[in-house]
Symmetry: C2
Subunit: 203 residues, 2 copies
């Protein structure tokens, strides 16, 4: 069996190395490189992505890759965290809008209306890796919980706690729709599920 994404229990996060003295400066931007890595992981999944895939996308040599990061999974977790922050930021922006428009936009975004066939990276990762890797599961859990909380706040700004059940259902529904989309279920069926989702928050 291909070894599971190893569970480094509390491995140092790939902090940018302290610039201790003189020397050639890094010829690439770490965040940007992580962004490229993210795209590859997103498209192919963890197991199906090789270091060569990563270095090609990041335009890094193998040695630069390994001097900047400690392993494939290190890059993966860093990219996943960045993705989570970014995706939540987008959702928070959508949540600013008027109640029903905001909810509709959030559900659409979450259900992958614009991500093409790749689907939400975090959902992919949960499905592929969470059962075998607590670190990924934890990132996924936090991501999902923040999404639910966001839904609850938009649903019922005065008393978010009252909307918890609907919030849980809306995130589950959006994630489920994303899976339907990925298998290529007809647009008509997707629209049906979305219309029922709307009934959950239409007053």
């Amino acid at each position: 069996m291909t070894q599971d994404l190893k569970q480094k229990q509390s491995r140092t996060q790939s902090l940018p190395k302290a610039q201790t003295g003189p020397g050639r400066p890094r010829g690439f931007d770490e965040a940007e490189a992580l962004g490229q890595a993210l795209q590859v992981f997103w498209k192919q999944g963890y197991e199906a992505t090789s270091i060569d895939d990563l270095t090609a996308a990041m335009r890094l040599s193998r040695s630069s890759f390994y001097s900047a990061f400690s392993s494939k999974q290190d890059v993966f977790v860093a990219a996943l965290r960045a993705y989570s922050e970014n995706a939540l930021g987008t959702l928070e922006q959508l949540a600013q809008g008027e109640r029903e428009e905001a909810l509709e936009a959030m559900v659409l975004a979450l259900s992958g209306a614009s991500d093409g066939p790749k689907g939400c990276m975090l959902v992919n990762c949960i499905t592929e890796l969470a059962p075998h890797n607590e670190q990924v599961a934890e990132i996924g859990r936090q991501h999902l919980e923040r999404i639910e909380d966001l839904f609850a706040r938009v649903l019922s700004p005065q008393d978010p706690g009252a909307a918890n059940s609907t919030a849980s259902a809306l995130s589950a529904l959006a994630i489920g729709i994303l899976t339907l989309r990925k298998s290529g279920v007809s647009a008509h069926r997707i629209e049906q599920a979305l219309s029922t989702a709307r009934t959950l928050f239409t007053t």
Copy 2:
């Protein structure tokens, strides 16, 4: 990059070989062996499963494996089809019950209440492989459509067409809950989503 599950366009299905004459009979049951293979693919996913994993689980030598099946993906597709039939059979049984009890049981089964952390195999496969493999996407699509049709028939036996939207939403919701479960979201949040699911079919 690890090669994607190749797309053999219309490869012969691994039919049991015609018993043409004398010779040592097969020492294993093909369906049973496929069942063992299924367990491994289910637990580990396609990419993370090696031929050694499969032969160990199926208790077959490498050569028996390759004389009975043509490739890893051949076994995979056969196992996936068997899984789909089996899962749909279970759901159809649950669908026999009284309306609300049937719907509740179906949602629970689909959302992985008893599959442990492995989740529904077909949902896993859709997430991992469907975007790159039309054969898997097709199996997933058919599976999901049959589930929706089943929901529609239970929701509204006289006029299943009228319940299409709710049926789509229920399957999406169940699948989404399954993903929540996989990331280890709290039982409380799962129950919240389930309770909202119930409101979709409680008269």
